[in-house]
């Protein structure tokens, strides 16, 4: 059984206090708790501070293009469904340049876990407005305050009927670990949005801000995470500032389980050759 030590790699280059440390920690703990060996983990990540997750996680990594971790991750899973596959990135990567892939990944429902480190800012490029930057917030590209409405990732996922939606906070690693474990175990596409404060470029959405504003749905006994309409209402009422398991549909069938003819054997273990009968059957279609 792997321990947390087996996942350790070189020291991350994030700023001291960066929320992404908490996310990394929770991802590694979730894998350890579920008995997943590091060599059976693959992380595809985009570009930005959060994109370095593939390097720090300790599994196989594909540090890919800006916004394109989801296409990579989905194909990795189809290629070898024995792997635990993450896509990881930030709000700019996932809800800006890569937004199209997010919606289609929910629609397609391949069994991967998508972790977004949502800090409401572009960090690595030193502080420009992001798709989740709140209206009025001053950044280098919105010096007089942002005017565009922010993306509401969780509500968007609910609208698209994503089969697993959770939201966590870097400041609560225990809960985040548990949410990621559930996300890994969910058979289908799972989305975990994490409030992961940028301590250098975002002085508004800070640890203190979240500690004083977050509504924890996991502690609310009246909340039913299988009721999508209820989830819509509660998330909207709290203006998206909620954490916990927001919605899960355990019955929603994955792409792999519904695609006609999806192979039993992982693609990576398939024999590359075609039998003589196989060739003959194909050639007959050309006659």
């Amino acid at each position: 059984m792997a321990t947390i030590q087996d996942f350790k790699t070189e020291k991350p280059t994030w700023c001291p206090g960066c929320g992404d440390f908490g996310v990394l920690n929770a991802m590694q703990k979730a894998c350890v708790n579920l008995g997943i060996e590091p060599e059976n983990v693959a992380v595809a990540s985009g570009i930005g501070c959060s994109g370095k997750m593939s390097q720090h996680m300790g599994g196989y990594g594909l540090h890919a293009l800006h916004g394109r971790s989801l296409p990579n991750a989905q194909a990795i899973k189809l290629a070898n469904d024995k792997l635990t596959v993450f896509a990881a990135g930030g709000d700019g990567d996932g809800f800006g340049i890569g937004m199209g892939h997010f919606i289609h990944a929910m629609r397609r429902n391949i069994d991967i876990t998508y972790i977004v480190m949502d800090n409401h800012i572009y960090g690595l490029t030193t502080g420009q407005a992001s798709p989740t930057t709140e209206v009025g917030m001053k950044t280098k590209t919105s010096p007089k305050g942002a005017v565009e409405q922010p993306i509401a990732p969780v509500q968007l996922a609910l609208a698209q009927n994503c089969g697993f939606i959770a939201q966590g906070f870097s400041g609560n690693i225990k809960q985040l670990t548990s949410l990621i474990e559930k996300a890994i175990q969910h058979k289908g596409f799972s989305f975990v949005n994490v409030f992961s404060p940028c301590v250098t470029f975002n002085k508004v959405n800070t640890y203190d801000f979240y500690k004083s504003h977050l509504v924890n749905l996991d502690e609310d006994e009246s909340y039913d995470a299988h009721d999508r309409i209820l989830a819509m209402r509660r998330v909207a009422e709290a203006n998206n500032i909620v954490v916990g398991l927001i919605y899960e549909d355990p019955e929603r069938a994955s792409f792999e389980s519904t695609l006609p003819g999806f192979p039993e054997t992982p693609l990576v273990e398939e024999d590359l050759s075609i039998s003589e009968e196989g060739y003959e059957e194909i050639l007959a279609t050309f006659r």
Partner: protein, 586 residues
């Protein structure tokens, strides 16, 4: 008796032109003829002008031919657009139920009105005018109507025997009507003998690429629909799942290529197929594959560009993009199959090259190659190999220990460091688009940068491969026709025609343009004092590549075509005679 027959049907799009052509083409193929068919169509569903050309011969033919003996016209536009390519005394069959065809006074063609729709109505449904037209064609080409039964059975059998019978009835009535009212014929040549061991297959470049991918071990195709590449996806969807593979319809071409990269990273042979606009969207990912040394196969079925261009017309104008596309500098291989057989073999081989050299391989075909169907004797199935390149073994990783495996070891002599596959213990690394050190961690120091760039550059330094340059004709000829990709067939016929006219010319053709097959090309050019490069683009991209890579300034002339139509035999022959200054031969 003619060695070959040229037949064409034309009308508005949505009028069943394709299905008429398909039935006639497949029937002739199954009779044993070598058929080549080309569809001229537009980017719309109803209206416009579309036509379907069939050339049938008693020997293998590699293009659709310049001339037409029989033209079936469902409207006047078809006559106006196509009469000029008819042979003297050719026959235009027009649907006299709906219009009376006219032609220029000096056109030596026979206009024959046949009430196609009226006859079809008598058989029960005006839609069967196409079958009446096929019956008329059978009469002109002197076929037996019974020869069409198997094809009609295949086409309509699912709809019941009554539908099959009605269609055969329409065909027979058309046949009878023509024989009763007209006395013109263009008899088809005798059916050719088939050599021992030869098959007789009717294939397109797109289906050959799909077949090649499957045979080459591709187990995942991710693609986005785009003319003229979508048929590759159709073929693969039909066949790949039976062999343990998966097809993904991506949300766009960016997703498609990144899916192919993800699967290749995981150890699965994967590709994407597209055309120009999609290929442009893939440029950033091409760089990722190059930088992260991840195998990748991209098939680009070129169409007329730039931008949306002419989506349903052919061109060879993505050559520069395939060779130079993406920012920064990467290693890549660009194959340009010259026949449908090579579409099969080189697509299969592309996976070996991608894994051996751990870089992207681009297979460039075009609309003309991709969407035209032709009869061939066989696929080179026995020539397909699977070579996986350098893969590190479990034992080697065990001996190394944790974090001792350097995926991107810059010390390797040939620049190619063994890959590990996710799931292998001690094989962990990060594949990445950032500059990186041996274990795949992004670093920016000068020494690492320089050594990693040099490592990647070394990979193709001494590239040798069976693809490259082919030479046909007299090896001592002082004149040469030069081309790449889909023009091989028409250039071969041009060479033959020029030789028949006493002009000593050889034909040099590229099946790979990058890495440029320098040695082979120099050898091919040894006897040549003048060459004509024939290519379907505006700027002469192949000519420029030759100049850059091999010289021959002042030796090469260009024959360029970029109107969207495939190049014809007579266009090449007349350009060659003009260039080679042998127009008046003594």
């Amino acid at each position: 008796m003619h060695e070959q027959i040229g037949w064409k049907v034309g009308g508005k799009q949505g009028e069943g032109i394709d299905s008429t052509g398909d039935i006639y083409a497949i029937a002739l193929h199954r009779m044993g003829y070598y058929v080549f068919s080309y569809r001229h169509f537009m980017s719309l569903i109803k209206g416009g002008h579309t036509n379907y050309k069939i050339r049938a011969a008693n020997r293998i033919v590699r293009h659709h031919g310049d001339t037409t003996h029989v033209l079936i016209a469902f409207d006047q536009t078809t006559v106006d657009y196509n009469w000029h390519e008819m042979v003297d005394g050719g026959v235009v069959i027009y649907d006299s139920t709906s219009f009376t065809a006219t032609k220029p006074d000096d056109a030596n063609v026979n206009l024959c009105g046949v009430p196609l729709t009226e006859i079809a109505k008598e058989c029960g449904n005006p839609i069967m005018k196409n079958m009446v037209a096929i019956g008329v064609s059978a009469a002109i080409n002197k076929f037996n109507p019974d020869d069409f039964i198997p094809v009609v059975q295949d086409k309509f059998g699912k709809k019941g025997q009554a539908v099959v019978d009605a269609n055969m009835d329409a065909l027979r009535r058309g046949y009878a009507y023509f024989n009763e009212n007209f006395n013109i014929s263009f008899p088809a040549p005798p059916v050719p003998e088939r050599a021992e061991g030869d098959d007789h297959l009717y294939v397109s470049g797109n289906s050959s690429v799909g077949f090649g991918a499957l045979a080459g071990g591709c187990r995942l195709l991710a693609a986005y629909p785009i003319t003229p590449a979508t048929e590759i996806m159709y073929w693969v969807i039909e066949h790949l799942p039976k062999h343990g593979g998966v097809v993904l319809q991506a949300e766009d071409e960016i997703a498609a290529v990144n899916m192919a990269i993800g699967a290749n990273f995981t150890g699965v042979r994967a590709m994407t197929s597209t055309s120009g606009p999609g290929f442009s969207l893939m440029m950033e990912a091409l760089g990722l594959a190059g930088m992260s040394e991840t195998p990748l196969v991209i098939v680009d079925v070129q169409r007329s560009g730039p931008s949306t261009g002419l989506p349903t017309k052919t061109e060879q104008s993505d050559l520069n993009e395939a060779i130079y596309g993406t920012h920064g500098e990467i290693q890549r291989i660009v194959l340009t199959p010259k026949t449908v057989e090579e579409c099969f073999l080189l697509t299969a081989e592309a996976f070996n090259l991608a894994e051996t050299y751990q870089c992207p391989v681009i297979v460039l075909t075009d609309l003309y190659m991709g969407m035209s169907y032709q009869s061939i004797d066989k696929f080179p199935v026995a020539a397909v190999e699977h070579r996986r390149g350098k893969l590190i073994t479990e034992q080697e990783l065990k001996d190394l220990g944790v974090y001792e495996y350097h995926r991107y070891n810059p010390e390797v002599k040939d620049g190619i460091s063994p890959r590990s596959i996710p799931g292998q213990k001690n094989g962990r690394y990060v594949a990445l688009g950032n500059e990186h050190n041996g274990i795949g961690i992004e670093v920016e120091d000068l020494e690492t940068r320089t050594s990693q760039v040099a490592k990647r550059q070394r990979k193709l330094a001494n590239f040798q491969h069976f693809t490259g340059v082919s030479v046909d004709g007299d090896s001592d000829a002082p004149l040469a026709l030069i081309g790449f990709g889909s023009t091989w067939g028409v250039l071969e016929e041009a060479r033959e025609e020029l030789e028949e006219q006493g002009i000593k010319v050889k034909h040099i053709h590229f099946s790979r343009v990058f890495p440029f097959p320098e040695t082979e090309f120099h050898a091919a050019m040894e006897s040549v004092t003048q060459g004509l490069v024939v290519e379907l683009n505006t700027t002469g991209q192949l000519t420029e590549l030759i100049h850059k890579s091999a010289g021959y300034h002042g030796v090469l002339e260009k024959c360029l075509k970029y109107d969207g139509d495939p190049i014809g035999l007579s266009e090449i022959v007349s350009a060659a005679k003009k260039t080679f200054k042998v127009g008046v031969h003594s």
